[in-house]
Symmetry: C2
Subunit: 187 residues, 2 copies
């Protein structure tokens, strides 16, 4: 929990009361490898902070699993679409390693956002950061070759190949596993 509080202070300072209120609202969740945090069709009612571990978000499209996102230590993870709209999720969240998470419910978060301007600020700033990150991913995805995207990924997350299978990485990059294998043999 200290790690979570430490991490969010990078976004914005917090009053003592706000910090205490946050502290009271998060609960620890321990998950084993391959376990699902969320499956499609369910409404995502929690936001999670991934203290330690690895996770992927994926869609089922035409019977295929399409990984579109990874989370690692110190990431906030949820199905943002479902969490924000409280509509059924179209994506699945699955742990890739045994992991430690901290969870807060939508209701509790909403209450904190109402009570504390500085928590509202914190969340706004966090969204700014996540928006920029997503925009970067988007531009990479759309406008670079498969090889460039893989090299970019290695730069951004050098630990990825150790923690995530080639199939998941290929899916994330939007290329077939065979193509990724060939790219790796060429580099």
């Amino acid at each position: 929990m200290q790690q979570l509080l430490q991490h969010i202070k990078l976004y914005a300072p917090l009053s003592e009361e706000a910090e205490q209120a946050l502290y009271d609202c998060f609960e620890q969740v321990v998950c084993s490898k391959n376990q699902h945090l969320l499956t499609e069709g369910k409404i995502c009612r929690h936001l999670y902070f991934l203290e330690k571990g690895a996770l992927r978000g994926y869609y089922n499209i035409d019977g295929k699993e399409i990984t579109h996102w990874f989370g690692f230590d110190n990431d906030f993870v949820t199905s943002f679409h479902s969490f924000i709209t409280q509509e059924p999720s179209v994506e699945n969240l699955q742990l890739l390693e045994g992991s430690i998470l901290w969870s807060i419910s939508k209701d509790k978060l909403t209450e904190l956002l109402n009570r504390f301007h500085d928590i509202e600020r914190l969340v706004r700033v966090a969204y700014e950061n996540y928006y920029i990150r997503l925009e970067e991913r988007y531009v990479n995805a759309q406008f670079k070759t498969a090889t460039e995207r893989y090299e970019q990924l290695l730069k951004d997350a050098p630990h990825i190949p150790d923690r995530v299978s080639l199939g998941h990485i290929a899916s994330y990059l939007g290329i077939s596993q065979e193509t990724l294998s060939r790219i790796r043999s060429r580099i």
Copy 2:
């Protein structure tokens, strides 16, 4: 200006004082077709509300213009990366039609965010919405075929082909203009 105030109330309610403060901070900007709102290398110090018109964001990569984004009536537009970080922009913003915009400076917005919890809320909720939209674009970009992406675009923004040239649309879809032309002849 009424249109802007009307629009943001869709995100969150505003106190009278907050609304008045917002009203005082926005300035009208009228732009002609092809004019640039921002060029790369400059720090983006304003957030714009596009009351009426059309705009694209594009990168210059290896001498080529890569359009990654369109804005239309009722969109907030800026180089989010530069506006948020106050680092030099890597993208350009160019009007595609004669347009009416409303502009607020980063400094003034920061002041409003500090003074009014409900404006902080408004911006947080706006980010939520823009995050979801971007996520959808991302998934489309990465995991659908060129034809599917074009059909999706027609569904989301049926007016696009009337207002935006084929070359820009092709760039936005991440395919060559020739390929898009062939896709259109097949549909």
